[in-house]
């Protein structure tokens, strides 16, 4: 099984054990996707982790955009902005960096 900084990841690059997550792992995952994590990225990652902690699932896109809009300004509370941060999707790429399981379904 592949790993990132010693933490095993599945075939889609998601952490197998969510407790393995560290900030360094997020940075390393982002590097692999040619992304330098900025403060804006971290705002999203932190929110994803907080939400997951409470609900055991990633937030719905609308919940995420609303929360980011509140934190970072209304012009940023939309999925276009989030896609500019996470080109593979705030849900999938964002969750991977944040150490959450991959959201799957008809999405």
């Amino acid at each position: 099984m592949a790993d990132i900084l010693g933490a095993p990841v599945d075939e889609e690059g998601f952490l197998v054990n969510l407790t393995d997550w560290t900030k360094d792992i997020a940075v390393e995952m982002a590097k692999g996707d040619d992304i330098d994590l900025s403060d804006e990225h971290w705002e999203v990652i932190d929110f994803l982790r907080e939400y997951y902690e409470e609900y055991q699932i990633a937030p719905a896109v609308r919940v995420l955009t609303k929360a980011i809009g509140k934190k970072m300004g209304k012009d940023k509370g939309n999925s276009k902005y989030l896609y500019s941060l996470f080109p593979y999707g705030p849900g999938k790429q964002g969750c991977r960096f944040a150490g959450l399981p991959k959201p799957t379904g008809c999405i």
């Binding site: 075939e11 889609e12 690059g13 692999g32 996707d33 040619d34 609900y55 055991q56 699932i57 937030p59 719905a60 896109v61 609308r62 919940v63 609303k66 999925s79 276009k80 593979y88 849900g91 999938k92 790429q93 959201p103 799957t104 379904g105 008809c106 999405i107």
Partner: protein, 524 residues
Amino acid sequence: MADEYEVPELPTYIEIPDINEGIMDGEGPFKSSEEFQAPLGFPGEKVENWKEKAIDKMADLKSKYRSVQVFLDMCVKCGACTDKCHYFLGTSDPKNMPVARQDLFRSVYRRYFTFSGKYFPKLVGAKELDDEMLDDWYNYYHQCSQCRRCSVFCPYGIDTAEISMAAREVLDVVGVGQKYCNQILGKAVTVGNNLGLPEPALRDTLVDLEEEVEEDTGVPIKYPLDQKGSEILLVTPSADFFAEPHIDGLIGYGKVFHQDGVTWTLSSYASEAANFGMFIGSYDVMRKAALRIRKAALDLEVSRIIVGECGHAWRVAYSFWNTLSGVGSGASDEFALKLQNQLDSRYPQPQHIIEYTYNLIQEGKIEFDKSENDHRTVTFHDSCNVARATNMGGIPNGQFILPREVIKSVCNNYVDMERGTIMESTFCCGGGGGLLTDDLMEIRIKGAMPRMQALKEVEKSDGVDTLAAICAICKSQFTKVLPKFDFDPYMIVSVHQLVSDAIVLEKPEGSDSEVEESTEVTEE
């Protein structure tokens, strides 16, 4: 992650491609592991005596489903289906010709279940079931979206989807399952939806949504959860809670219910319309998922069940719920009978949300300001399972007529795509049948080509800039593939988003939304 695939060119006319043997050879999508197989009762990995088990399962299917045997026996290789599959047109792999894909299963069936195949296999194209064949099954039966376009053109009406489903069921039984479908099914039959969205998250998401809609409209529209004694239970794909553009469709359903003044509810126990049990061909798993809806309907004491915008869900609901769970008539166990007595026989059970909205429009119960959609020119994508396996409104071709009538009631600018690519001949979005996963992105992009081609033509001729659909899978698939073909990914919308944007809402007495809106602006 950064895999880039060759995106097919969009021709003015679709031509039958020159074949490229083996171009889509491969290992297929990620395989399911013990973790996802076990909850569904399938072995965690390829079993030792897999060949024996596979043949046994084929015999079982042959005895249970007369249709499968008929379809396997009757093909005359006329070739009418060869160029009807979007995956063949998009990939040029001859094994994606429906007849050739079916033959992977049919040749094995011949070898073990027919006289000529047992004794003169070479003469009748009968083949051994070996590892290589099983690998081919896994790879190519996950390049079929079970859309059944080929069946429309088959002079014998052979249903390729049923053969794909049978093959996938055999694969599951020998421990070679697909991760995407089986992981999702595990969540659907334990948590109650494909996403694994637990009740508190669903509840808070809906509360958030209510706030947002009231802010936008000035009308307190509710999105109720687990409200016992409501008239209507809405069963909708969980993507409607979670994803974009889906959620704008959910907002639309709520507005329509609000205007009609009915009581309605969602269920946290059965918060999913989709039923991937059909994709993997497993009756047992499909029934398990369907029974959650029955339990929810009984517990909540509703008198009507309405299904949201989800393509294969409507097929399962329309065609199978009656015998699977007793919604409609057919099943005769205690709970099915109880439900049949409980549901109001003055309404179709189940009913599609499009039928519901269409009826309200006919009765003049809801009004629209069509100019709200004047910035769009809309076309409608018929989703395969709705188009080729169901009906709406109880009139011939109602499944094509009703959604278009709803759209035309809320939009001034509507254009259909080329006739050979819509209605019963609709091209799949490319992501149906359990293929909506990142590890199948190549086939999803290539298979989307014929739909994208027809869309490009109406974009050129009529300036179409909005694509409306009534299926969660279609909506998600289009969001991903549209940009590959130089379209705006945000052009895909729910039909009920168009409804939502144009519906005239009755404001609560004494409120004046204009004033409220302007106060809000000054506060900022």
